[in-house]
């Protein structure tokens, strides 16, 4: 054991792990299932696209351009000129609950399953 660690430290670490696991369970309890819709939120406005139709989506927001691609049931950010490129490094998502976020662009891409329906479907 590392010197100086107290009981409260282990309690804090345990609690944080517990919270993380509980959140994982809540969000991804239906993970593993392939989703069938991609919900894109751009600056707060939500749009849904079916994953079985290939397409390229372009968003311009906050001075940045983001290109997302839906291909073979997977969604991926293929181009973004934001400074950190976290969205591009995230790779492709296809399962329910998986999310890509681009903070500078204020765009989020989220895979949802059958049961989650949104107000309108664009495209």
């Amino acid at each position: 054991m590392i010197k100086g660690i107290k009981a409260g430290d282990i309690l804090i670490a345990g609690l944080i792990i517990l919270i993380a696991l509980a959140m994982l369970f809540c969000f991804f309890s239906d993970k593993g299932q392939d989703g069938n819709m991609l919900v894109v939120s751009c600056n707060g406005a939500k749009e849904s696209y079916p994953l079985d139709i290939d397409r390229v989506l372009t968003y311009q927001n906050n001075g940045y351009t983001l290109k997302a691609e839906i291909k073979e049931g997977r969604a991926q950010v293929i181009y973004c000129n934001c400074p950190d490129r976290v969205c591009m490094h995230s790779g492709a998502v296809s399962r329910v609950g998986q999310t890509i976020v681009c903070l500078p662009c204020k765009v989020t891409l989220r895979i949802v399953g059958e049961e989650e329906r949104y107000d309108f479907i664009a495209g």
Binding site: L11, A20, F27, G44, A45
Partner: protein
């Protein structure tokens, strides 16, 4: 008393300077290419704030923390990065207070981990507001795991530095 005040000012300024250097170092490290998570950072600047909190005073730590966020945003950031940083910094500061109140049972390791976890929570809350979507919370579980790792590393750095007792009577 005058000497004490001058020393306190110097310590605060020095810690602020070091905190800004560490923030800058973090910003140029290509960490986001290795860990593709928004907001996964080492949180090195929090080392300075924690040391300030426990060796100078909580009030000085708040000043150092807010000034660092403000100056970094002014120099390198924009408004939305400021919102993220300030929410995270304030929640991390709250974590330090919890740590101070429970000082008998927790060491710098626990305090650092708690404050890192709260920092990430703050960033997610800010993210939800900025994006207008709660999708960002799906990153939180992973961010919490990283906060444990980085918090622990920071604790290991803080423990010996705090023992130096930078602020020993005048």
């Amino acid at each position: 008393m005058t000497l004490l005040r001058v020393k306190r000012l110097c310590l605060d300024a020095m810690l602020l300077g070091v905190a800004m250097m560490l923030s800058y170092l973090e910003a140029i490290l290509p960490l986001s290419a290795i860990i593709p998570l928004p907001g996964a950072k080492l949180g090195l600047a929090n080392i300075c704030v924690t040391i300030c909190f426990f060796t100078v005073s909580p009030f000085d730590a708040l000043l150092v923390s807010v000034m660092r966020v403000f100056l970094m945003a002014l120099l390198f950031g924009n408004f939305s990065s400021f919102v993220f940083a300030i929410t995270g910094a304030l929640l991390a500061y709250l974590g330090l207070w919890i740590g101070k109140l429970a000082r008998r049972w927790v060491s710098y390791y626990g305090i650092s981990m708690l404050s890192a976890a709260l920092h990430n929570l703050g960033q997610c809350i800010a993210g939800a507001f900025v994006l207008g979507s709660t999708a960002i919370f799906s990153y939180l579980p992973l961010l919490l795991v990283f906060s444990l790792v980085f918090g622990f590393i920071n604790g290991a750095i803080i423990t010996p530095v705090a023992k130096l007792r930078l602020f020993k009577n005048g």
